[in-house]
């Protein structure tokens, strides 16, 4: 299978402009800004069926079409790239930024052109120090070659590229919190509406896309939406996708395949199978830690937005976390709950108070102090969070909790009754 998004990542000199240009880089940008109208770019992307790779899978072209068609000089448009990749189990954007930064920049610039943006802000996770350096060098190269800045490629269109480092909060990957943070304020999600296209960063019309999403755009422009539609499972799950495979597999890593890759193929072929021959698959979290878990018997599924939704979970950020039979599901859930407890921004009540409560109860069960009522309590507290918060972080903490307790209820029950883990499973520190 042809590698598209990752075609350059393991080439000699990966990340340099020379390597990128030698693979046809920036030709799509040239085509877009010199031969297409912004509207035509939006239409092409719409036609391709490209869905956002950040987690929600919202159609990219449709999102772009929400932007005003005319620019009010007092309210310039901004294009934000969400490079805050902080969902546990997810590491695909980092690969693109570190190994093919110009692909990210080219996609960003085409998107910026499509929505008539004045500037692109790449909001990058603070911990990505290395990737930040790579991106900043690439930005300098792009300016020097006239791909960014004033009068790009002689088109008369100007656009700035700015790399902005976050300060280490998971919540700043939430699009409105990201905007607050970019503005210099506390990273708090905002009430919606208004949606970003109406009033985003600095109160101006704004579009925000994930890194991998914009990395698809140059190929759509260069090869056409019709070509793109042949990849994956058209019409609703098209294009190449990066899957982040981690956990108890022989070869964890980022794998590129068309959307709709069967999970078994990812785990047993690309990933080389389970880590230990004597420890069969127990569960998979298919979309980063915030989505409901799948039991082994639910894992005959294609990795795309709709197939996973049909199983009651989500493709999310495609962070596929594989757990074998040695995994204590209570410990695993307690660890996830710890993350959301630590990362809850504290703005609204259910998430602020509920995430810590969930973790406390889970830790208690794991440590042998669980009570029978705790199992239903976990589900009830989760249900009291879900849907009642400002942003999706509360749901992200609560949905896995419900799925773990319901799908592995026997194991939770065992902890309560026997004050210990299942035989053969390891508590948190033992996971390997």
């Amino acid at each position: 299978m042809e590698r598209i998004l990752t075609r350059n990542v393991d080439r000699e000199g990966a990340g340099t402009l020379a390597v990128y240009e030698s693979s046809g880089g920036y030709q799509a940008l040239r085509r877009a800004v010199t031969t297409m109208t912004p509207g035509a770019v939006v239409e092409e992307v719409k036609k391709s069926g490209l869905r956002g790779r950040g987690g929600a899978g919202f159609p990219c072209g449709l999102k772009w079409s929400f932007m005003p068609k005319e620019v009010d000089p007092k309210r310039p448009h901004y294009f934000l790239i969400n490079a805050d990749e902080s969902e546990p189990g997810t590491f695909k954007d980092r690969l693109l930024m570190e190994r093919d930064p110009h692909l990210v920049l080219e996609g960003s610039l085409i998107g910026a052109y499509a929505i008539r943006a004045k500037a692109v802000y790449i909001y990058i996770r603070g911990e990505f120090v290395f990737a930040t350096g790579v991106l900043e060098r690439a930005v300098a190269e792009a300016y020097a070659k006239g791909y960014a800045g004033a009068n790009i490629l002689g088109s008369g269109w100007s656009c700035d590229l700015i790399v902005h480092r976050g300060a280490g909060a998971y919540i700043c990957g939430e699009e409105t919190a990201l905007m607050s943070s970019l503005e210099g304020n506390r990273g708090y999600p905002r009430l919606k509406p208004p949606f970003p296209a109406a009033s985003g960063v600095w109160g101006c019309p704004t579009t925000i896309n994930n890194v991998e999403t914009v990395a698809n755009v140059p190929f759509i422009i260069e090869r056409g939406a019709d070509w793109y539609l042949t990849l994956g499972k058209p019409p609703k799950n098209t294009g190449p996708k990066l899957y982040c495979l981690s956990g108890h597999v022989k070869r964890p890593g980022v794998y590129e395949a068309p959307l709709g890759l069967p999970m078994s193929e990812l785990i047993y072929e690309l990933g080389g199978g389970m880590l230990h021959a004597d420890r069969p698959l127990k569960a998979v979290i298919p979309g980063g830690s915030s989505v409901p878990v799948l039991r082994a018997d639910e894992c005959e599924v294609d990795l795309d937005f709709d197939a996973l939704a049909a199983k009651g979970t989500m493709l999310g950020s495609a962070g596929i976390m594989v757990m074998d039979s040695s995994t204590c599901m209570v410990a695993a859930m307690a660890r996830i709950a710890h993350f959301y407890h630590h990362e809850s921004c504290g703005q609204c009540t259910p998430c602020r108070e509920g995430c810590g409560w969930l973790e406390s109860v889970l830790n208690r069960i794991e440590n042998g102090a669980g009570r029978q009522a705790d199992l239903d309590l976990l589900i009830s507290v989760s249900n009291n969070i879900i849907g009642n918060t400002i942003c999706a972080l509360g749901d992200a903490a609560a949905m896995p909790a419900i799925s773990f307790v319901t799908k592995f209820r026997d194991e939770f029950q065992h902890h309560v009754e026997h004050k210990s883990c299942y035989e053969g499973t390891m508590a948190l520190q033992g996971v390997r």
Partner: protein
């Protein structure tokens, strides 16, 4: 106007109105913590979640505007479940230290827990232990454990005073209100954060542990701190009245809080006004009548004063220096009585300090300066009077050290009627106690020309009587035609008949919010 149905009742609502406002306007309270009508919308407490038909999730009433055809349920099973859930969340880390909390009795956590909570908690984990009684400013203490992070106080400092002293620190359940490094919550309006705090997280140093709020007798009145005339509620302690046989000892003002009047002060008052009762309580009160510095029965002092005033008036050598904090009733009474004694030249003391600010504070500290203008017409200046008179009546409650010393040196005889022992009272030939601001009914006219009612909040101290009563007694003692007033309302009736600016006014028409003229 969009038509909406809230709990089965159809109503027309102005576009842009939120569900919460629409419901409130109809008298249907949707519980809320972070929403405050004087501040921007934060939407963080999630207490006002309501159900809107055809919407998948509950929505917050404070932020969701009504739309044509919207059908809202504010008490459906789903909503009640959510409210109970929010109450449980609010209380899991709350210390439940109501027995030692000043907010108890007027606490939204208590009220909503009773009304919307389940009455029990399923939380058995240790609660967060955070700092208590953190000194954040000259008037305000912060209890981190009681705080529910509604952000009202932050928004107040950002949006109303624009001083920005407060912010959130930390994250998640450890999120705490705090002051920025090197700052203090020290602005002219800092006490308001205590009023708007829906729980006991922010308390006022001056009110802390003074009384239980349910022992307060609350009277709606007008602040006398400056010409703004902010609408306030004065809380008077009643606790000891119940505990001791001689109750008046605790019949004192315990606090002053703002009362909403969009025309005058919105939702706020300044700290100086809030603390004004303390200045008055710290001042030495004139509680008994004096002649030549010696205590005498009230009637004797009135008779002595009447003789002196009458004599000077009949020679055309009587002056009157009145405080701009006297009520219109007192001013009118003095004007009428001194006229019947033979007439006097009036001067209104000017009390000007500082500058007008952008919010409420006025440099003119005369709460009734405009009223004095209306009642007395163009009055002279104090200095002009000094040279022309042999006797001067000094009436009013001003605490500013008066220039009565000048008058005394000029050989002018001072007759003092007022509540405090200060300059004028000490140098007076006759001193008669009168009621202070919180002890008598009356009307003030603020700088906007708005007539507002001042109320008696507690009994006058000692021999003190309302100024109009002293004036009437003087007339009686002087043997001239004495008014037959038995209440401030009757004085106002005469005033309304005599001065066109007050025509038609009575306590009912002035009402709680006053009337513009």
């Amino acid at each position: 106007m969009p038509k909406v149905v809230i709990d089965g009742r159809e109503m027309d609502v102005a576009p842009g109105t939120t569900i919460l406002q629409a419901a409130l306007a109809r008298g249907n309270e949707i519980p809320h913590y972070c929403y405050h009508p004087g501040l921007s919308i934060a939407g963080n407490c999630r207490m006002c979640l309501v159900e809107v038909e055809k919407q998948p999730k509950l929505v917050i009433g404070c932020y969701t505007p009504v739309a044509e055809g919207m059908v809202v349920h504010t008490a459906s099973a789903k909503v009640q479940t959510a409210r109970a859930a929010m109450m449980e969340f609010f209380l899991i880390n709350h210390p439940l230290d109501c027995p030692i909390c000043d907010q108890a009795g007027e606490c939204r956590l208590q009220e909503y827990a009773v009304e919307y909570g389940d009455g029990k908690s399923r939380y058995t984990e240790p609660k967060l232990a955070l700092a208590k009684a953190v000194d954040i400013g000259p008037h305000v203490l912060l209890d981190q454990e009681r705080c529910i992070q509604c952000s009202r106080c932050i928004r107040f400092c950002d949006e109303v005073t624009r001083t920005g002293e407060l912010g959130f620190f930390q994250r998640g359940e450890r999120t705490q209100i705090g002051i920025f490094p090197g700052k203090r919550l020290d602005n002219a309006y800092s006490g308001n954060v205590v009023d708007i705090c829906p729980v006991g997280a922010l308390t006022l140093k001056e009110f802390r542990f003074k009384t239980r709020v349910w022992y307060l007798k609350n009277t709606p009145t007008i602040c006398a701190g400056c010409a703004r005339g902010c609408n306030v509620v004065v809380g008077v302690g009643q606790q000891q009245t119940m505990m001791t046989t001689r109750g008046q000892q605790d019949d004192r003002v315990k606090r002053i809080v703002p009362r909403v009047n969009e025309e005058v002060n919105g939702h706020w008052i300044c700290d100086e006004g809030r603390m004004s009762y303390r200045r008055e309580q710290e001042a030495v009160r004139l509680t008994d009548a004096r002649v030549g510095g010696d205590g005498v029965p009230y009637d004797d002092a009135v008779a002595a004063a009447a003789t002196r005033l009458h004599a000077a008036a009949s020679q055309g050598r009587l002056g009157a220096i009145v405080s701009p904090r006297l009520t219109c009733e007192d001013l009118f009474a003095w004007k009428a009585v001194l006229a019947s004694l033979g007439g006097a030249s009036f001067a209104v003391r000017e009390i000007v300090r500082g500058e007008d600010d952008a919010l409420l504070i006025r440099a003119d500290k005369g709460a009734n300066s405009r009223g004095a203008e209306w009642v007395l017409g163009a009055a002279g200046r104090e200095a002009e009077i000094a040279g022309k008179v042999s006797t001067v009546l000094v009436a009013g409650d001003t605490l500013d050290p008066a220039d009565t010393a000048t008058l005394a040196r000029a050989g002018v005889e001072v007759i003092f009627v007022g509540p405090f022992v200060s300059g004028a009272a000490e140098n007076a030939a006759v001193a008669i106690p009168s009621a202070s601001w919180s002890e008598a009914d009356g009307t003030y006219v603020n700088f906007q020309g708005r007539v507002q009612r001042v109320r008696r909040c507690h009994l006058p101290l000692g021999e003190a009587r309302p100024g109009w009563r002293v004036a009437a007694d003087l007339a009686q003692a002087a043997g001239v035609r004495a008014p037959s007033w038995t209440s401030a309302e009757e004085v106002l009736a005469d005033l309304a008949a005599a001065v066109p600016a007050f025509a038609g006014l009575d306590p009912e028409s002035v009402g709680l919010l006053g009337v513009g003229r």
